[in-house]
Symmetry: C3
Subunit: 344 residues, 3 copies
């Protein structure tokens, strides 16, 4: 198994099953670390783990370089780094503030951070492929600097996919002890499948984690927001079953995992979307809930859009609603990832 | 006396006299802590206090979530948290940066921070009542997370009121040993009384702190910026005397505490204001200073507006000018408040 | 020699040769400190140095107050302060966020920070002379607060000049052991000499560091962007030789140090610039490189502008390209400066 130490995290495809299981084990431990930091009672082991991590991380410097808005990803990385005892440098929102306004290339920007002794750069950009470019610049600097892609435009968002998969693993059929590799997962992706990078990243990652026969995808979206061919070709090649629908009601009874998404208005670029259609057919409605399996789980990368209602607030108290805990899992997974990347 | 531990700080009305006296005692101690951190000589007690606070706060996480501009409130909370040894997470200016641009509700935003183990969220918003909404979301999360209202639009700004009252207490008649509860305070609120939330919050708080007969309000403003009826009704109900004026010169001789305010141009929404009138009649002028009591104090929540001149710079060197120390008091009061809320 | 302790850093002219040599020695030490923090093997002395600095800086508070965009200066000060173990408060980009939008004077803003116990304020503004104004306000506060000018509009950028000079010293003729005071330095300033404050600051600083006969300036720019008279008068008065050119090719063979600059489009204010002319005559071209001395060094304050190409990327691998290391030197010099200012 290739260690993550000193690696960059660029895309979901880079992970193998073994490394994912190892990472998720670390994320489990991080729940104990967080409980300890919060003043809760934990095992000796968790306390010891916490102390040794903090000692190792004390002089690690993590930069947050976000060219695009984010609350959840930004905050969870910030808290993750703080919890580990690292030093965080949050660059002010880069689009307006930084040298980017003076036309500097990402290559020069990254070379600068390398020179300043930064150990990891968590970056979000609006341009697909920019994280990879940054990684090349980091490698060229001759130093060990990890680039962590926190979303690159329409490209990928691999740490979101990691926390999504971890959430599936943790909550699948509400049985913590199960070996999920042995289970068949019927997962529905619902909503804006054309623009959601989280959907793409998770689709790739699930294929790395499960055998093809243990996986079936159900894509539910209005015609204009259908899943793109690259993912479908990939699934075909891997021998994973998938099918497409326009109405969630047509398939709800088969689904174990609902992955709901927000229509990304900011990326539509002139496409006309029939919101009423989505509201009635690609959302969690009373009708859908009625037909939903008792042990199903409902996920959402958040933020959700209350004006649109893909998941209405009244569903929050349903035990199948896991999106709030999913966000929380983001903290544990990102702590685990930063620890693996910086300390091994 | 109900402890502040784990409480949210939402509005001035929530405080009773006993809890205020306790908080102000803590703020006095914080002056010693600051002196110690600054390398000054302090008592053993202050040193010990400082060490025990830092130990208790070491893993407390405080988020600053500001949807509206601020320097003073933001910086004083930041330094307060740092001085106490807590970990501060300053969310980048939320209006442009955060998921708010994607339409996320404050409820979902707060649920997320709760999941990340944040202990206190200091928030400023442009919408009245948003802090209360945030508090409800925090309570619903099942965790102990305190919301601290750092200004919610035209609503309140309770920590400003606390530092204002502390300033009155500290400097009233320039006698530190006095029991202010025994004194009658004649306080003038001058300027933009229609839009100033600090004025509203302080008016409420003074009523909590002093018996009705120990308090008299003098409202000085041009007709279009008069104090609104809700406060006047409240004073009537409490049996507190107040009167209204258009010219400061008409009342200056009676006043112990001048609370000057800036005309909040950004909240006027089309109201025509006669600036020359204000400059001549609702400002600190040479004429006003001449008639001012020797032991009076002049306060201002700052920033002041040099273009308008409610307090001209030449007055800064007058011993009655207390607005710079008032801002400094903000640090001590916010340290005391964070300590009380997080450690008890 | 006047110590820097408690001083403000406002302009290049304030430094004498002795204090510069002392500062550069400290910057050399900071390279060891950084190596140690990075986990590298260093001397006992560097380890000890590091520990004693961290102890002294633990309660020092450094505010970053940037009213104008910056990545490099902001980040290097941030990392410098963190490496020293100080507490950093990065004010959100001040132009949009702070009380400046409400018209507050810099005097009131600085008085506030002084009240909060800030020890040093690193500030960048768009208004020449604002750092000096800030320093006056800090002095008036009666506290020891150092203002560090990180660029004031068309004024100066003294810490950039310090790192520039340190880079010249470190790399001149690629001989670390040389005594640069004994060497004659032929330095070319190339590009936008009218608007570049870094050029102005470095010109002043070089004059403080070298005897007049050990220095010769070559100004290369299109006519509309020529060096202004104040610097030329200053050089005349000091007896330093200089000459002016429109084409780099005409003078390249004589030059030891090339100081390239970006055309500051954001400061041109209506002046028409012939970009093709600059691209062909005031840039590093193949023709220039061919005629360049073998031991010359090429510097640039960065960011460079790829659309304009004053230094094309293909030159980065040339051993004479020192601009990446120059940026890195910024970290060491700023660490040294903060240490000298705050601890002596």
């Amino acid at each position: 198994m290739k260690s993550l130490k000193g690696q960059s995290i660029l895309e979901a495809q880079q992970f193998g099953r073994e490394i994912l299981d190892d990472l998720f084990l670390e994320a489990d431990k991080m729940q104990g670390v967080c409980k300890f930091l919060d003043g809760g009672e934990v095992s000796e082991e968790a306390m010891h783990e916490c102390g040794s991590i903090k000692a190792g991380m004390a002089e690690k410097k993590i930069a947050l370089l976000f060219y695009e808005p984010s609350t959840r990803t930004w905050s969870s990385f910030y808290v993750a780094a703080e919890n580990l005892g690292a030093r965080v440098m949050a660059i002010p929102p880069a689009r307006q503030f930084s040298s980017a306004v003076k036309g500097e290339t990402v290559k020069d920007t990254i070379a600068m951070f390398c020179g300043y002794g930064i150990d990891a750069i968590v970056m979000r950009t609006d341009k697909e492929g920019m994280a990879k470019e940054a990684d090349e610049a980091a490698c060229a600097s001759g130093r060990t600097v990890s680039i962590i892609n926190a979303g690159d435009g329409k490209g990928q968002h691999p740490t979101q996919a990691l926390l999504d998969l971890y959430t599936v693993k943790r909550f699948f059929k509400n049985d913590l002890k199960k070996d999920i590799h042995e289970e068949k997962i019927n997962i529905a992706f619902v909503g804006d499948l054309a623009n959601g990078r989280t959907v793409r990243s998770l689709a790739y990652l699930l294929n790395k984690y499960q055998d093809p026969e243990k996986l079936e995808f159900f894509f539910v979206s209005p015609p204009v927001l259908k899943m793109k061919d690259d993912i479908k070709d990939y699934l075909d090649k891997k021998g994973v079953k998938f099918s497409e629908y326009e109405k969630l009601a047509d398939v709800v009874g088969k689904i174990d995992v609902f992955y709901m998404t927000r229509v990304q208005k900011e990326r539509l670029e002139g496409i006309q979307v029939d919101y009423d259609f989505i509201r009635n057919n690609c959302s969690i409605t009373k009708e859908v809930v009625e037909k939903m399996k008792k042990e199903a789980i409902v996920m959402h990368p958040l933020p959700r859009d209350p004006a649109f209602g893909e998941i209405p607030e009244w569903f929050d108290s349903d035990p199948r609603a896991k999106y709030i805990q999913q966000a929380e899992n983001g903290l544990y997974v990102r702590m685990a990832l930063l620890k693996k990347v910086l300390l091994g």
